[in-house]
């Protein structure tokens, strides 16, 4: 994903033009901007949060913070990267303090606990689908590993983009990403998703 590109090419004014208009107080541009970015933001938030309610809170709080600060955004070209940065700050503030989820937490949230830990190996084969297993794997890892993993593999961002959004040196980004991938792999193996 190119962070400066228009989300729907040919579908109206560019994102940058919308940002500039919204900065001047144009309400229609503001609405169009929300419509333009909300799906991408939702995808990241949903993967980071692990459930709809928390993802919705994350998206709404991020957009509120972003639009309060919008008049002060100096480079409208970097709007998406700036917004993702805010989203990650909000995620760290609201979700980051939580310990990786326990089986009880997952059960309370309506997410099936890992079959491998509750039942026999037969149940592994019947574990919920891959998407749910991914949610559980992400919920089980600390936020500092979850963020680069989601940004890299859900939004297809470059390492440089990640470093900028997460405000980390490139080396740290790579280390966290590699560690996150390893945690994901191990979790899916434990759940029997991968042989």
């Amino acid at each position: 994903m190119n962070l400066t590109q228009q989300a729907r090419p040919g579908a109206g004014p560019s994102r940058t033009a919308l940002v500039r208009a919204a900065q001047r107080g144009d309400e229609r541009a503001f609405r169009a901007l929300v419509a333009d970015i909300q799906q991408r933001l939702w995808q990241v938030a949903r993967r980071l949060a692990g459930d709809d309610d928390r993802a919705a809170d994350l998206v709404q709080e991020s957009l509120m913070r972003a639009f309060r600060a919008l008049p002060r955004l100096r480079d409208p070209e970097r709007f998406m990267s700036w917004l993702l940065r805010i989203l990650n700050h909000v995620a760290t503030d609201t979700l980051g303090a939580r310990q990786p989820e326990s089986l009880e937490d997952l059960a309370e949230a309506g997410i099936e606990p890992m079959a491998s830990e509750l039942e026999g190996p037969e149940a592994r084969a019947e574990a919920a689908g891959t998407a749910e297993a991914i949610d559980r794997a992400l919920a089980a890892m600390p936020m500092i590993y979850r963020q680069p993993l989601v940004l890299r593999h859900v939004l297809d961002l470059t390492y440089d983009d990640l470093a900028q959004i997460l405000d980390l040196p490139l080396g740290t980004v790579k280390t966290r990403l590699f560690r996150g991938r390893e945690m994901l792999r191990e979790h899916l193996l434990r759940e029997g998703i991968r042989p």
Binding site: Q38, R46, A131, R181
Partner: protein
Amino acid sequence: MTCDELRLAFHEELGGTPGPGTREHLRTCSLCRAWSASLAAAIRDLETAAIPAMPLDFSRSLAPALVRERRARTAGRWRWVAASLVLLASGAGGWQLGRLLLVRQTEPGPRQARTADILSAPRALPGHADVVPASLGR
């Protein structure tokens, strides 16, 4: 290339083309082959697994909620500006009024003026001799 080096290189090359060193190591090391296959599969799962769609009611209510919040903040800001202006205006008005009252209080009356004039009148300035009362003399 050692197994540790392979793992680092594999992470770097994931999604791209594996280098000749990586290919060579994977050809000869079954452990790393199994590891790299499961890692690549896990990442493929993450990239392709469906993400639940944004709930329709949330999607519909998001922009209006943000617009409402923005309007409320703008209105709040204008209320602050208006209140500040009122305060400023009443402050300035009060200051003017106070100044006026003070001036009136300290302004000398006709009798005071006479005494003051007399006391402060130059005694020996040339050209003013005629205004110095005789009673005060020289």
